[in-house]
């Protein structure tokens, strides 16, 4: 009874012979990904310790870019707006669920309705930005006229420091809600009908049914919806650029836009300072990315 289990199964040798094959399949994709995605991350960190206009020689300045950031009011405005984006953008998840519940019926033509509700996600953010600029436009924008009609005075949302970021976030929510909706519609399709029936016989309905029976089954959809929404909120760039260019007076900037502005604006190329902003944004995102990856890794191991 002392025999140890064989720790060298005969298969291992055969497997080693093939160990080069997967790397050959991986090589082209990994090479491209390394050159354009992985290595640039480290290069950006390196650039952030320099003063560089993108053309001439780079000058090492240590942490000077970061200490400048520390005292930069525009940086804090952008950071504050990013937090606002993150918090409000997450509303897309419950609102998407709400629309999905509304549409999860089998009446005639419902498929067309579902596709049309999904519409805003398919069109480019540039077009969404232009559509909402028109919607908000002072004097004749649909929303402007509506507000004027209700309250007596119109509000030029995109020209008002108090409202501008909310106005842009609302534009961003439109396609994002559509995306969350489609995730939940797919999820609802797969909810086990027998569990619903059983719970119904036990007298569960409405909110309690949703909370205790349906939502737990929708967990994979919720996970993806949250991941995509968080990433989307921190990546927001297109709408800010199209709708306000960060204005009025820089009040609607977010980190991604501020970075772009510093690195490539008409006021001169400050690549080092831009890279430092990007590193901060990357660090914030890493908190979330690590969390997502950790969960996915655990699921993968659990298989």
């Amino acid at each position: 009874m002392t025999a140890l289990p064989d720790i060298h199964p005969p298969k291992a040798r055969a497997r080693r012979r093939n160990s080069l094959t997967p790397w050959l399949f991986l090589a082209p994709g990994m090479l491209m990904f390394a050159v354009y995605v992985l290595i640039p991350i480290f290069q950006s960190v390196w650039v952030s310790f320099h003063d560089w206009d993108g053309l001439g020689p780079m000058r090492w300045i240590g942490l000077a870019n970061y200490s400048e950031l520390w005292w930069d009011d525009a940086f804090y405005t952008s950071l504050k707006n990013n937090v606002l984006w993150l918090a409000l953008y997450l509303l897309a998840v419950p609102l998407g669920l709400l629309i999905a519940l509304f549409l999860n019926q089998t009446v005639k033509g419902i498929r067309i309705y579902k596709s049309l509700f999904f519409f805003p996600f398919v069109i480019s953010q540039v077009v969404v930005g232009l559509i909402f600029s028109w919607f908000y436009a002072p004097g004749f924008g649909l929303l402007y006229v509506l507000i004027e009609w209700v309250t007596g005075t119109g509000v030029a949302i995109l020209a008002d420091e108090r409202y501008v970021t909310y106005g842009i976030i609302a534009a961003g929510l439109w396609p994002q809600i559509a995306y969350c909706m489609i995730l939940y519609l797919t999820g609802l399709n797969a909810v086990a009908p027998d569990q619903i029936e059983a719970a119904r016989l036990d007298g569960a309905k409405g909110w309690r049914m949703l909370w205790h029976v349906v939502l737990p089954q929708l967990r994979p959809a919720t996970f993806i919806a949250v991941v995509v929404t968080v990433i989307g909120a921190l990546r927001s760039f297109d709408l800010v650029s199209i709708m306000t260019s960060g204005g009025p007076f820089g009040s609607s900037r977010v980190l991604s836009y501020y970075m772009y502005e510093q690195a490539l604006s008409e006021y001169g190329y400050r690549m080092g300072y831009g890279a430092a902003i990007a590193v901060v944004l990357f660090a914030i995102m890493m908190i979330f990315i690590t969390g997502f990856i950790w969960k996915m890794w655990r699921d993968e191991r659990g298989l």
Partner: protein, 281 residues
């Protein structure tokens, strides 16, 4: 089914649901409908303050105007020249990587896989300065090729995630049986796996097409000028020129939105299958 099918509800409830559906839809798409209507309104109407009423006539000439007086045809062409190679490149590369990560068991397999997944989530700005520099040094700044190369590399991350999971769900016995027969690895990939992943290729193609068509940030970073810029960046500069000419801006927007919308309606099933991958266990 949740919520309860309305067929089990009172007729009055059913009727109100059927009335509510189109009303909700119109409200939901109100901004888009407004723009679509504006794109068909003659400029005279706008000057006269007729923004919401019935257009005095349908003005298709707005579209003709946009084509005649702006490089929008060139922008649209550029978008295709960037998008199509990217779709082919990224989907092709990810067939290879996805196969390697799904079929072979090797020590670093999960590490490589999660590297692709994580890279896919990073903010674009952390890549911007080095990628722009690299593109300039390769002499590809302000070229369609330079932009497409970056897109191929970046999209490979998402496509690998998708392909690997798709291939992993295929029956393993097929591959094992072929190995026993002595079929070599490349032939297994080419003759057995590739035909089976056709639905995944279709789904990825429509998704990548839409993502790249709608890309704006990289177009702004890696291209300037009408000979190379895609429609998203082009629309931005036209918007600067056409201050307050909303009938033209609207027509341009509708044109820019058209290709992905058509793609969506033609390939709806694949599109949604791709987007909702992983939304159900």
């Amino acid at each position: 089914m949740f919520p309860r099918p309305i067929q089990t509800m009172s007729p009055a409830f059913q009727r109100s649901y059927k009335i509510a559906l189109p009303i909700m839809l119109v409200l939901w798409l109100l901004p888009l409908l407004g723009v679509a209507l504006t794109s068909l309104r003659p400029s005279g109407d706008l000057a006269a303050g007729n923004y919401f009423g019935i257009p005095s006539r349908i003005a298709f000439e707005n579209y003709a105007d946009v084509f005649r007086n702006s490089p929008i045809a060139q922008y649209l062409l550029n978008s295709f020249r960037i998008t199509i190679p990217t779709v082919i490149g990224a989907v092709g590369l990810s067939c290879l990587t996805g196969y390697a990560l799904a079929v072979y068991k090797f020590r670093l397999s999960l590490v490589v896989f999660f590297m692709f997944v994580a890279g896919n989530f990073v903010p674009f700005q952390i890549l911007m300065v080095p990628v722009r520099d690299l593109t300039v040094n390769m002499g590809l700044y302000n070229t369609v090729t330079g932009l497409a190369l970056f897109h191929i590399a970046f999209q490979t991350g998402f496509c690998t995630l998708f392909m690997r999971n798709f291939i992993k769900a295929l029956p393993r016995e097929l591959i094992e049986a072929a190995r026993v027969e002595g079929v070599n690895e490349w032939q297994i990939f080419w003759h057995i796996v590739l035909p089976l992943v056709r639905p995944a290729i279709a789904a990825l193609s429509v998704l990548v097409f839409t993502f790249i068509w709608n890309d704006y940030f990289w177009a702004m970073v890696l291209t300037t000028g009408a000979e190379t810029q895609p429609i998203t960046a082009g629309l931005n500069s036209l918007n600067g020129q056409w201050v307050a000419a909303w009938h033209l801006v609207s027509a341009g927007s509708i044109l820019a939105a058209m290709p992905p919308v058509l793609m969506f309606f033609l390939m709806q099933r694949h599109f949604i299958a791709g987007l909702t991958l992983g939304a159900v266990k």
